[in-house]
Symmetry: D2
Subunit: 295 residues, 4 copies
């Protein structure tokens, strides 16, 4: 691969969308928010883009770290798009992927901290409190393979087999090709999460394929790979990239580019994601009530 | 119940140990460390003490928050006792119970942070690095029911069914009856964890009964229940306790007594527990190597 | 002293307020919020209550940890009362007292994290952004004597002498005599902070006396001293208290009573205090703008 | 300036050291640790290198995040070099610069957390505990201008004027030109800290010039500026750099390059610095005692 990006939008080029390729792409702009929808419908399309067959929705908003009156606008856009990807009924399991101790990777676990879990309230609580309209939600995060010794996908499969949700929402930090997208972009997709896209490492894949239920991936780009950035800025060929790679990964350490204010960005992005998810999952609660329950 | 204690040692009175009751208790002292072993062997004994049949080892040491040369002594005592309770071979799953956001309840999750997970290294790593003697360990923590919507025991059962460990170590914060034991006591037991001891809420129980494999509970008392303390200090009868209960739980809030330095105590206790667990699980590694790998 | 309380309201008894004693006390209730104002006007009054001459305003609200629509009501009550105690113009220095690593003591430092510092913006920023109405504010917190080796009051005096504010606001955690007041009460006072009330340890005192400018103390009770609680519940005499003291302070550790949810309480209380302070200090900004700038 | 580096070692080129330029540079290697000493003795030398007159000691060690037996070796090298720069007697004030909420900038405040403050113990404690050999140390950190509204240098000057130390040690995160130096390098210097080197912004400078006492700067590089990196890797001229600058700072956000494991690196580096400082300041305490007091 000549660069690394988890955003379908960055992996597609302008000439690719066509009926023949089985790829469609459309973008709409509304109130300063742009929504791009890419559908990959065929194996051929999947090969061309290097991403699994499915739907990719990329929402671009003003930077999360800016003061802005439009925070509600952004959040409702996210929750509306997310709702469209989810089954109408049934328990939803929200999982936060990533390492809570590595700042740019912590967006999944931090989002889970604020997702309202309700599954345990369904019996007693709902009935006595007239909350019959509450949707059943479970929410877990448990770190990464190096911390647990267990693949995240194995833990999630174990839990799915046990509590039998109708769908999984998987929240994760993404790598982008572009600095401008850090903290300004959310990608939703119905393809789940497949590390090494298409390579088919089933042990690690989180998808309908492996779990038997829809897996909605929700991600925010928080880093740009150093090589990808350098290569892009300079139109380097692969040979030069390899050489560069040696220079920018001294001692095998992975170097990454982030905004200086990455800690703040992660705090804000995870708050916005959890709010968007809660609104999508609990339409019977008011915005104000959700905010109050989250704090 | 007239008071609340998770320590078997505090639930037994001097007259109870006897062959007839099916209870034995012995205490040895060595280098300033006292080790008490209680065995409850019969249903009758279990009824008398109000704890499940099994073995309870209580290690009392100088306070965790004191500067002391004997930290290694304490840790080796813990790891030695723990080793005796564990199966000789096979994967061990270490789970951290409790809420990481509630300081006195965070000892489980904080211990997990420092437990060395090795299960994912067994194949490639061990062979190439001559680490064939490494024991396979997995380690997880995921918060409490109110955060996840799933009983901890359900998640653990799901994982156990999937990765098939030979035993579980469950680390948890305990309630004690005595202020002196906060931060100076560790209880190990082979009975697992049964909330409401003996009541048999199978949904919440973590034991051989529910998981099919040994469950070793490792706990440190971090709080004293306010009523228990007051009742004890004053030899109150149950009526007076009920009255007191209303006064000390205004608005239904649970009040607890902790040392002022509870944050430091939790940090130290979780460090000592994780070190003790790592030493018990990895006898092929030196003390120095384990310290280095943990930091 | 027979008990410990930092709340003037708890140190006064019903018979004391009188012109002869130089003490007045009045309470008003509005929308579920109660506001008590005590004025101690004479040395005699100060002796009787055991608190310095000055004004003590105690605001009692529904618990900070309850979901409630009235959060704005509480906050505006605080900011209005605080505004009355402050000089109309000039730089305000807000200081957060207490140890950020000890949860119930962290309310001062955590409040400072959210207080909007503007002093450095006054020159360039205000003029170019038409923010001439912004009040100049500095905000510092630096831990406790055991961490720094310097009395907080020494550091604050150094800074005051240098930046010459018109008043200091000092935010601190308080001890209460009553469990019901934990997390439901705010005390404002124009007397500053005098450890050992009236004893006159000038090295530690933060007051007009030592700094030469008004010092407004803002505090929330977060703990009840174990002995105070026990003594109160049981109407113990001083002898019994001393005996009790030995039992509840094993190894000289100070034991305290807090709600189980103390971490959440501290988060909410510090948020509410910082919001109240920001609103009091920046009347030219809207509620919404202040919230946005704080996040 | 065509690139940004806080390391004198990176600002000097091989031809510059000469008696005529007033610059000397020597490097010694011992046990895998390299120590470079640069002395800038004249105004001319200062102009050439772009750093103030004084001494710069750069210690390069194996990466902080590697498991290594030689941690004590590294620490004693640091403390020995530091000791040489300090006055033999008198109170030392250690200050931690930087923003504790921005991970790569948090090295100063995190180091302060572990520096042993003793100034408040000197009177009573030392005498009664035969600790007459303890050196008096104060330690403070208070965040950055945007948080406090006060320049760090103003706060430090206020405190220095009040407590009158014999020298200041200022701990700070540095920017490096080279990825290899992140987390492997420590720079000690007797020149204090002068933002914009030589430009002479006295309001911000921390030096003998402004404080009247020696200021020893202790820093670890934690980031590489994105432009500096790209420019270096590609030998870009200044025009190209300016163009690149626009691309890599979208919306004016500063982008930086860090190792993926930056959180761990900051934890380890601040631990090593505080240990080195404590050993340098308290020669009467054993290594083991210092470790115990720090934990």
């Amino acid at each position: 691969m000549t660069y690394r990006s988890d955003l379908a939008m960055e992996c597609i080029d302008a000439s690719q969308p066509s009926p023949e390729n089985g790829i469609t792409s459309e973008t709409i702009n509304k109130n300063g928010i742009s929504i791009n929808k890419i559908k990959i419908q065929t194996e051929k399309g999947s090969q061309l883009v290097g991403k699994p067959i499915g739907q990719y929705i990329t929402i671009q908003v003003p930077s999360f770290s800016e003061v802005s009156d439009d925070i509600e606008g952004r959040i409702f856009t996210i929750s509306e798009q997310l709702k469209n990807l989810l089954p109408k009924d049934g328990l939803i399991l929200v999982v936060g992927l990533g390492n809570p101790s590595v700042t740019p990777d912590a967006i999944g676990p931090k989002t889970i901290d604020k997702v309202l879990a309700t599954r345990h309230l369904m019996d007693e609580f709902s009935r006595t409190n007239n909350l019959n309209n509450l949707r059943s939600v479970a929410a877990v995060a448990f770190g990464v393979l190096g911390q647990t010794g267990i693949e995240s996908s194995e833990i999630i499969k174990s839990i799915v087999d046990n509590i039998k949700p109708s769908a999984v929402i998987a929240v994760d930090a993404l790598a982008s090709r572009s600095l401008e997208r850090l903290g300004t972009t959310i990608q939703l997709s119905d393809t789940g999460i497949s590390p090494g896209s298409g390579v088919g490492n089933l042990r690690k894949e989180l998808s309908k394929n492996t779990l038997g239920i829809p897996v909605i991936a929700v991600g925010v780009p928080t880093v740009v790979d150093c090589i990808t950035l350098a290569g892009d800025l300079l139109n380097l060929d692969n040979n030069s990239k390899n050489e560069l790679n040696k220079k920018v990964s001294p001692n095998g350490n992975i170097m990454m580019v982030t905004p200086r204010e990455i800690d703040i960005l992660i705090d804000k992005a995870s708050y916005i994601l959890s709010l968007g998810i809660n609104i999508a999952l609990q339409p019977s609660l008011s915005y104000k009530d959700i905010i109050a329950l989250m704090s």
